[in-house]
């Protein structure tokens, strides 16, 4: 037997969300180099001329490949008994937790998420190692999911450790 991937993909807008979220880091790196180039530390000039194109190429590759790759990997599924998620791109991780062991169900919307009308759902258990995160759900889907999980977990008793 083998494990199949979870059934549902996240929303397509998540591709843009991941792109926009990763861009600032590259922009800062690039800007620092351009400033250094403009200030013109003479003896380093040839060095910057080399690194700026390399940075641009790496950034472009990362921003094009990573979101598409993530969209293919990120998946989720919720049954009455279990929550199952798959995330990552270069390194990937699948997480399964029984609904009976769920401690909290959180949603969060940062500025980037708001921009694309997306919501992240985080399901935590009593273990610090096991939060299950579903990135980039459509806002309405996320609310439905949270409602369902809250209803399912309320049926359980005990402190779930």
């Amino acid at each position: 037997m083998r494990m199949r991937p979870p059934r549902y993909r996240v929303h397509r807008r998540a591709i843009w969300y991941w792109t926009v979220r990763a861009a600032p880091g590259w922009l800062v790196l690039l800007a620092a180099q351009l400033v250094a180039l403009a200030v013109g530390w003479g003896w380093l000039r040839q060095w910057w001329v080399l690194t700026v194109p390399v940075t641009v190429v790496l950034a472009a590759a990362h921003l094009l490949v990573m979101p598409q790759w993530r969209y293919r990997v990120h998946r989720w599924e919720v049954t009455p008994e279990a929550v199952y998620t798959q995330a990552g791109w270069f390194n990937q991780e699948r997480r399964v937790a029984p609904v009976s062991r769920i401690q909290t169900v959180d949603t969060d919307r940062g500025p980037f998420e708001q921009l694309f009308r997306l919501t992240n759902v985080t399901v935590t258990t009593a273990s610090a190692a096991g939060p299950l995160r579903i990135d980039g759900l459509d806002r309405d889907d996320a609310l439905r999911l949270v409602d369902q999980l809250t209803a399912d977990t309320q049926a359980e008793r005990g402190d779930a450790t």
């Binding site: 979870p6 199952y84 390194n91 399964v96 450790t161």
Partner: protein, 511 residues
């Protein structure tokens, strides 16, 4: 009041607030003085030059004593059938309440001064205080019998009784699982805990020399030493220093072992708790509820393994792990013969197979991965050394010497593969890994609350998975590293039957 004749909580629902032991009125001033000692010395030195030293010193000491008395006056606690409350604070009053069913451990310790006065400090452990230094539920201190009684009351859910109390912290009745044998002290030098002590002392001495401009060459004994140091060849000197450090570390480790673990006893009480007492000068008694126990870890650091020693650690919710584990409550047996450690682990776990069973190996792909992961970084270092030798003119022996890294890497990789394995026996998941510290963790499956299956890019190519069992206790995550994907699925499915069933498909189903 809990001084000597402890008042029995009345039968009605709201128990009265209880005070700490009146003898703390003696301890607090002394402790406060000790805390203020550096400041006092500073005051004294600074003051002496201006002529008002004694006055400042006195003021500082008086303030310290006043704070101690205030602390005693403002701290009180009470125990109702539902919760434990501690009320404290001089300027901002604070009441900490903890539901009694969230109490996981009770730790009774007595430093030297407390022991002289027959006092003991009670620290109540909840899951929340795992990693913070929050001392909200520390009662410093009660009289020793009152502390022992409080512990029983909290953990066994019995109402407190004003029974005739003995003078000693009551040694809990129950079956003894282990007791320190003086021969185990021989394992002390191999724990390496003394290295830190030696480092601290060395740093302290060098600062002393610097600050007070002590010139070591001015005194007979040290001058002789300095002369010898200055006139010996470098390799010999390095050798001497290393030998000296090793000897010092060994002595310090042994002393540390004796101080911490003298009189070590592990008992199981009929009330369903494990009870550890230990310590030469500062005595500690740690009580852990067995229903909070999620498993047992047998760990063998490399040095200890070389002399067939090991340690046993509890995997429990609400206990400190990692570096603090020695001082925290999770140690079930200090460095001791491996056979003894296994016996204790079996006794605590109440099942033998998880500790004894040979582990299932993870196969050739996992073995190859051990070698690549150990060799690649070392090979990069060797290449870097060679490049530096060519470009910058690093001495020629550096790249040659760095080849030794490769030999070390091969040895570590081989040993890491030998440790790697897993088993599922008797309703218990067993994981084994590590070389510098080899660990075998046994987790009864009812304590597992989820699975993480991690596959890095290279693991996917090799068809391997790192299966992580998450739990609420200990390190929170226990890994079965680099196991073939099919085995991982089968293992996870067998350990928690039904959880994965909706997500399983036959292996030959495309993709």
């Amino acid at each position: 009041m809990t001084a000597d004749g402890q008042a029995a909580p009345r039968a009605d629902d709201v128990p009265e607030w209880r005070r700490l032991s009146t003898r703390m009125l003696l301890v607090h001033p002394v402790q406060a003085l000790l805390q203020f000692l550096p400041a006092l010395i500073g005051l004294l030195i600074a003051g002496t030059t201006s002529g008002t030293g004694p006055l400042y010193g006195l003021l500082g000491a008086a303030a310290a004593v006043a704070i101690g008395v205030l602390r005693w006056l403002t701290t009180s606690y009470r125990i109702s059938p539902e919760q434990v409350q501690v009320r404290r604070g001089v300027l901002s009053r604070r009441v900490v309440s903890v539901p009694r069913d969230r109490i996981r451990t009770v730790d009774v310790s007595a430093p030297a001064l407390h022991r002289v006065l027959g006092l003991a400090r009670v620290t109540v452990g909840t899951g929340l205080s795992d990693r913070s230094t929050n001392d909200g539920l520390r009662l410093d201190a009660l009289s020793a019998p009152a502390a022992a009684e409080l512990r029983d009351e909290l953990l066994h859910r019995r109402p407190g009784r004003a029974s005739g109390t003995t003078g000693e912290p009551a040694p809990a009745a129950g079956t003894e699982l282990a007791r320190l044998s003086p021969r185990w002290i021989g394992y002390g030098p191999f724990t390496l805990s003394g290295l830190v002590t030696v480092g601290v002392v060395a740093a302290f001495l060098s600062r002393l020399v610097n600050e007070f401009h002590v010139d070591p060459t001015r005194y007979g004994a040290t001058r002789e030493l300095a002369d010898r140091v200055l006139h010996t060849s470098v390799p010999l000197l390095v050798g001497e220093v290393v030998v000296g450090l090793v000897v010092l570390a060994a002595i310090a480790s042994t002393a540390g072992y004796v101080l911490a673990f003298w009189g070590f006893r592990l008992t199981r009480t009929p009330g369903g708790t494990l009870h550890v007492t230990r310590g030469l000068i500062t005595t500690r008694a740690i009580t852990l509820e067995e229903r909070r126990l999620r498993g047992v870890e047998v760990s063998e650091p490399l040095l200890l393994r070389a002399v067939h020693g090991a340690r046993c650690i509890a995997i429990a919710t609400g206990l400190r792990v990692g570096r603090g584990a020695e001082r925290g409550g999770s140690l079930l047996l200090p460095s001791a013969p491996r056979a003894e450690v296994r016996r204790v682990a079996v006794a605590v776990l109440r099942r033998a197979e998880p500790i004894e069973v040979p582990l299932t190996r993870h196969g050739r792909a996992a073995r190859r991965r051990r070698y690549t992961r150990a060799l690649v970084p070392c090979a990069l270092l060797v290449v870097a050394a060679a490049v530096l030798w060519v470009v910058v003119g690093l001495p020629g022996w550096v790249p040659v010497a760095s080849l030794a890294l490769l030999v070390g890497a091969v040895l570590v990789a081989a040993d890491r593969y030998r440790s790697l394995g897993h088993a599922l026996v008797d309703g218990t998941l067993v994981t084994g890994r590590g070389s510098l510290v080899r660990r075998r963790c046994a987790l009864p499956t009812d304590g597992i609350i989820g699975w993480n299956l991690h596959r890095s890019f290279f693991q996917r190519r090799a068809g391997l998975v790192t299966l992580t069992a998450t739990t609420a206790g200990g390190e929170q995550a226990y890994r079965v590293q680099d196991v073939p994907a099919g085995t991982a699925t089968a293992l996870a499915d067998a350990a928690l039957p039904g959880l994965l069933t909706p997500f399983l498909v036959p292996a030959d189903d495309g993709k």
